[in-house]
């Protein structure tokens, strides 16, 4: 494992989510909504770097600040 290997990590807080679905509109390959209550469902915790802009856009737009995007050091587990 090389130390300058950054990977993208996305986390969501289901308690904060108000189900407006903006994340799904931004990147439907990373986010979905639970059938039972419309709350955000993370499809990929470690999306491809190519999704960075979109995922960051989703985090910025999320009205309840329920999405966090980080660049973490290391390889995806």
């Amino acid at each position: 494992m090389s130390n300058n290997n950054y990977i993208l990590r996305v986390t969501v807080d289901e308690n904060l989510c108000v189900g407006a679905g903006l994340c799904v509109l931004s990147s439907s390959d990373v986010f979905d909504q639970r059938d039972e209550d419309g709350v955000v469902k993370l499809l990929q915790e470690y999306p491809d770097q190519a999704s960075y802009e979109k995922v960051l856009g989703a985090a910025r737009k999320c009205p309840s600040k329920a999405i966090k995007v980080e660049q973490v050091n290391g390889d995806a587990p």
């Binding site: 189900g19 407006a20 679905g21 209550d37 009205p63």
Partner: protein, 403 residues
């Protein structure tokens, strides 16, 4: 800004151009911190007009949307009369707000609403057929947009077709600001009484029904999570929030395209601009133009301004959406700009629940209208088409067109 530097500006302030926010917002944006404004009743409120500041206020739950808390800004006596009635979750704070909103979020999920698109298209095409059959001229608000948005939301709640005129009229009266308070109050009460009877009837046999009210009766009312009265109030919010707003946005969107033919040509040549065009019309018009009023639950500092507990705040989404720091040349209607970070649906926990539905309805209209009627144009001189002005929701009273 008022001429005298020692007096506060009044809120709301009149628009100079019916389709753009008051020029004063631009001046406020150039000053640091918040501006103090005077309300009709002599009270003061803090006004935020910059994109970052508006989002900071609306994203902070130390600001409450509950109008019964002392210090909550008052827009007019007529508006007070509406806000005095029992609150729906749009006026609740956490945790009650989330409890109620979560009962509905699955109904407005992207995939659920996406599945409604074919139905929305077929309603719109049927209404267009009827209008074309009658021939020009037409009034798009009355002939197309109100019937479309009403049928969509009423379909979700299973409110009978014959009653659409009734709830359209009540919702029109409910948003009037500058009238005798008994007018909007009576309108709210009429619609609540109507829905009370409808919910009572529906509760007799909700099993096997497809509508949202029946589902809520089974999932929430029967297990005791929601009272009969709370359901009535929730249904009223959906019915009212769901049609008038979207219909007004459609009318203003058509107005923007007809008065910016270059933008219409762009959309015609490249239908992939449709989604962004819808975001741009939401941004440009920001029809819920006095949104959002809040009151501080504790001392909070925003943009260097200390707001004390109990002070009223107006975080103007119409200011934010025309902040040059967030949108270059904000006064220009430009469907190619990046617009989807707008706050036309507000921001924070109260951000519009129905936005996926509003988006799909708008996309259907603007994908279809100019394609089916390529020669669509105003039927009267353009200057005669006026904005609604002093209403809670900005829009057009009528939109006379011909083809």
């Amino acid at each position: 800004m008022s001429a005298c530097p020692f007096s506060k500006a009044s809120f709301p302030m009149p628009r100079q151009c019916p389709f753009l926010p008051p020029q004063e917002y631009q001046q406020f944006q150039q000053q640091p911190g918040a501006a103090q404004v005077r309300m009709w009743d002599g009270s003061s409120a803090w006004l935020f007009t910059r994109y970052d500041d508006v989002r900071a206020v609306l994203g902070d739950n130390r600001f409450s949307g509950n109008p019964s808390i002392p210090g909550f800004p008052s827009l007019s006596a007529a508006r007070n009369a509406v806000l005095d009635l029992e609150p729906a979750f749009i006026r609740m704070d956490p945790p009650d707000h989330g409890r109620h909103r979560r009962m509905l979020t699955k109904e407005f999920m992207i995939k659920r609403v996406g599945a409604m698109r074919p139905r929305i298209e077929s309603i719109f095409n049927r209404l267009l057929d009827e209008m074309l059959h009658k021939g020009p001229p037409a009034n798009l608000v009355e002939d197309l947009f109100l019937p479309l948005t009403s049928e969509v939301i009423a379909g979700l709640l299973d409110v009978p077709n014959k009653d659409h005129g009734f709830f359209q009229e009540q919702s029109r009266l409910k948003v009037l600001l500058d009238v005798d308070p008994s007018i909007p109050k009576a309108a709210s009460e009429r619609i609540l009484n109507y829905l009370d009877a409808l919910v009572t009837e529906r509760a007799k046999a909700p099993e096997g029904k497809e509508d949202l009210i029946s589902r809520l009766i089974i999932e929430q009312v029967r297990p005791g999570h929601l009272s009969h009265r709370e359901l009535v109030i929730m249904a009223e919010l959906l019915l009212m929030a769901g049609h008038e707003t979207t219909a007004n946005q459609m009318a203003l969107g058509v107005h923007s395209f007809l008065s910016n033919q270059d933008q219409l040509a762009l959309l015609r040549n490249d239908p992939s601009l449709l989604r962004n065009a819808v975001e741009e019309m939401l941004r440009y018009h920001t029809i819920v133009h006095y949104n959002a009023f809040r009151v501080a639950l504790e001392d909070v500092e925003v943009a260097g301004q200390l707001i004390r507990k109990g002070e009223g705040v107006i975080a103007l989404i119409a200011g934010a959406n025309h902040d040059p720091e967030a949108f270059e040349q904000p006064q220009k209607f430009d469907i190619t700009r990046k617009a989807d970070h707008h706050v036309a649906f507000s921001y924070g926990i109260h951000q519009c629940l129905g936005q996926p539905l509003a988006r799909v309805e708008l996309q259907v209209v603007f994908a279809t209208l100019f394609e089916r009627i390529p020669t669509l144009r105003f039927a009267v001189p353009q200057e005669q088409i006026e904005g609604k002005g002093d209403h809670f929701v900005q829009g057009l009273e009528t939109l006379p067109v011909t083809w």
